[in-house]
């Protein structure tokens, strides 16, 4: 049994508020034979500059320190790739540091950038993330990813990270999904939804117009996961500029408050020990006493079914930003849908639904831009970017991309960044005839969850319009 001390549960404090001023991203694709990583990084930086009507040279003059998210040196075959990018961006002699926390690298990069401004160290920082996953064959790529598991105890077992995750999916599927066909279809619905939203995103690598049956008929990866339940392997870059209040308003009239928090849990799932469920503000102490009766086998927490790191990131982040009920207080979320089933698990970890009831977030229609049952706006739309399943998972960039996507809704500029024909043309992609504006009307607050592998690291990035603070 693990117990936390009160000091460990302290809500993080900032010396000053932090603002997201702008962000940008490159095109995302499975491979980029025609571009070096630095070209993609510069594409994203130029987009961020243009978003606030600044030239790259003007924006660079504000930056005081730099935070670079780049998960796998192996993939890039370049140790200290961050130093190369820093030089190519012309940002020497500013201090810079590389950040790597597996799949959560993008979110962790924002976390470091956030703390640098919150502490007063820097007035303006660059958070830039990228990944280059196309320079080895896929099976070697899978070996590299599996190298982020424990190299003595796990990696030799199949050299396949998906397998280390799939055992958790199997447990959740049996205990909380009860192996029901209806649950399997709910999983598939997420894949259909996110690939469908990706069709409206010119950056997206995996847009598809598919049905639940297409997902259910796709090849089995590891039961219950099929190929179309799984996220993409991608190349691309994304960046964000974070500032203190004074600098933020010098750069733009419309910066957003940003809060970033983080949690972690064992690298080897084998090492997980039991604990009481840490509660979020919208949960009560007696809520889970009968969890094991309602879901036999579900009374072991976090067991192999919950992501403690996600729960802790939400706990710290909600405390900082004054979030009580995520479904009520947020207007949209971008979640780390590495697999359809882990998406459902995350709904519970971050309090969108209680443990055991994640599926109802999808089945109610709440997670859609437009609720298919009521034709009204969804209560809390999820992954309108297409997520990791439909848009991309260029690991170091992913958490940053999610935050930018959420920000574009709160800025009311989502359509501007996704509709422009010249962007579709520049990326060599065909804009669908039924392109739909997914702007969430009057979005004020949003959340992005960045997550590593079996839940070893998770960050929560919360964006709030300054006129709609909760504390």
């Amino acid at each position: 049994m693990i117990k936390f001390s009160e000091r460990q549960l302290k809500i993080p404090q900032m010396q000053q508020p932090v603002y997201l001023v702008t962000g940008g991203m490159s095109k995302f694709a499975r491979s980029f034979p025609e571009k070096r990583t630095e070209e993609l990084v510069i594409d994203s930086f130029v987009e961020a500059s243009e978003f606030i009507d600044k030239s790259p040279a003007e924006l660079k003059k504000y930056i005081h320190s730099c935070y670079y998210g780049h998960f796998a040196d192996h993939f890039g075959d370049q140790l200290l790739g961050e130093a190369v990018i820093h030089d190519r961006l012309g940002l020497d002699p500013l201090g810079n540091v590389g950040i790597k926390t597996g799949g959560a690298t993008g979110g962790s990069t924002l976390w470091e950038a956030f703390k640098a401004v919150a502490s007063g160290y820097s007035d303006c920082v660059l958070a830039m993330g990228w990944e280059r996953m196309d320079e080895v064959p896929t099976d070697e790529g899978n070996h590299y990813i599996a190298s982020a598991a424990d190299k003595d105890w796990e990696t030799p077992l199949g050299h396949i990270y998906t397998g280390y995750y799939a055992v958790m999916a199997q447990k959740y599927w049996q205990v909380f999904g009860k192996e029901e066909e209806s649950f399997r279809r709910t999983m598939a619905e997420i894949a259909v939804k996110n690939r469908g939203y990706a069709r409206m995103n010119p950056h997206a690598q995996g847009p598809m117009k598919i049905t639940v049956e297409d997902v259910l008929n796709s090849p089995v990866v590891a039961n219950p996961l099929r190929a179309l339940d799984c996220c993409l392997m991608s190349v691309g870059a994304a960046c964000a500029i974070l500032c203190d209040e004074k600098t933020a308003f010098e750069l733009t009239d419309n910066p957003l408050l940003i809060y970033v928090s983080a949690g972690s849990h064992t690298l080897r799932v084998a090492d997980r020990r039991d604990m009481e469920i840490p509660l979020l503000p919208n949960e009560s102490p007696d809520q889970y006493t009968d969890l094991g009766e309602r879901f036999p086998g579900g009374d072991r927490y976090p067991g192999f079914t919950g992501f403690l790191a996600a729960r802790m990131a939400a706990y710290y982040g909600y405390g900082m930003a004054g979030i009580v009920d995520p479904t009520e207080d947020f207007d949209l979320v971008e979640l780390h849908d590495a697999f359809t089933i882990s998406d459902i698990q995350t709904y519970e970890d971050i309090g969108i639904r209680p443990y055991g009831e994640g599926r109802s977030y999808v089945e109610s229609g709440d997670c859609y831009h437009t609720n298919p049952f009521t034709n009204q706006p969804g209560k809390l739309p999820a992954n309108l970017s297409g997520g990791l399943i439909g848009n991309m998972h260029a690991v170091g960039a992913t958490g940053i991309m999610q935050a930018i996507e959420v920000g574009q809704h709160i800025w009311g500029r989502w359509a501007e960044m996704h509709e422009d024909q010249s962007k579709w043309d520049r990326f060599g992609r065909t804009k669908p005839d039924d392109w739909t504006n997914l702007q969430v009307e009057d979005a004020k607050r949003g959340l992005a969850i960045s997550h590593a592998g079996v839940g070893s690291h998770v960050t929560a990035t919360i964006l709030i319009h300054p006129d709609h603070q909760l504390i």
């Binding site: 049994m1 117990k3 034979p33 025609e34 075959d77 064959p137 099976d139 070697e140 790529g141 899978n142 070996h143 590299y144 990813i145 599996a146 424990d150 190299k151 003595d152 105890w153 796990e154 030799p156 077992l157 199949g158 050299h159 396949i160 990270y161 998906t162 397998g163 280390y164 799939a166 055992v167 958790m168 999916a169 199997q170 447990k171 049996q174 089995v220 990866v221 590891a222 039961n223 080897r268 799932v269 084998a270 090492d271 997980r272 020990r273 039991d274 086998g297 192999f304």
Partner: protein, 197 residues
């Protein structure tokens, strides 16, 4: 590929003694597109890395001798006092004192239970397990952690009883020397080189 004289290492007087070759250089090749335009180059390499097990060495030595070793916190002042850890932890994760090694072979043989599992045809490069691979995550009575391993025979199911088998004939000194089979499996059915210990 010529890998004659592949490197080996001994430790003598606390120092590494290297013998043979630890890396092989190969020429690279240009990568061109359909128009013949240069796009990049291949960067071939073949390296042998040296990896020390440190305090976990007894565990990996034990597998080849048919032993499943865990560890236990023996610090009377620690909340985790008496907790047994598999995977083997050299130090207690709570108090960081040195754990004592405990032989868990008998406990595992009496009844380990599948907590969850996974079956897949997909593997990464360098995989040596037969496909489809079947992972089982195994619970032991009185142990708070859940060990991941490979089911060598049969179809996994949550709640099934399994027993450990060991590559005692020609050990690799890796986690692959440990595998699992359904309880009641006959020794004659085991994969080549594996025994019940």
């Amino acid at each position: 590929m010529n890998i004659e004289n592949r490197g080996t290492v001994r430790v003598e007087n606390g120092r590494y003694r290297f013998n043979g070759k630890f890396h092989y250089a190969y020429p690279n090749n240009p990568i061109r597109n359909e128009d013949g335009k240069l796009m990049g180059v291949t960067n071939p390499r073949d390296v042998t890395h040296v990896h020390m097990y440190g305090g976990e060495a007894p565990f990996f030595e034990g597998l080849g001798k048919g032993k499943l070793l865990g560890t236990r916190c023996i610090n009377p002042d620690c909340d985790a006092n008496g907790s047994i850890f598999i995977p083997f932890r050299i130090h207690c994760p709570d108090c960081l004192s040195k754990n004592e090694i405990v032989d868990m072979t008998g406990t595992a043989q009496k009844g380990a239970t599948v907590h969850t599992f996974m079956i897949t045809e997909r593997t990464g490069a360098f995989n040596t397990l037969p496909k489809p691979i079947r992972f089982v995550n195994v619970e032991f009575e009185g142990v708070p952690t859940i060990l991941m391993g490979n089911l060598a025979i049969g179809e996994p199911k949550i709640g099934m009883k399994v027993v450990p088998i060991f590559n005692t004939v020609n050990p690799t000194y890796t986690i692959l020397d440990l595998s699992w089979v359904p309880a009641g499996t006959d020794e004659s059915e085991l994969p080549e080189g594996f025994t019940f210990g």
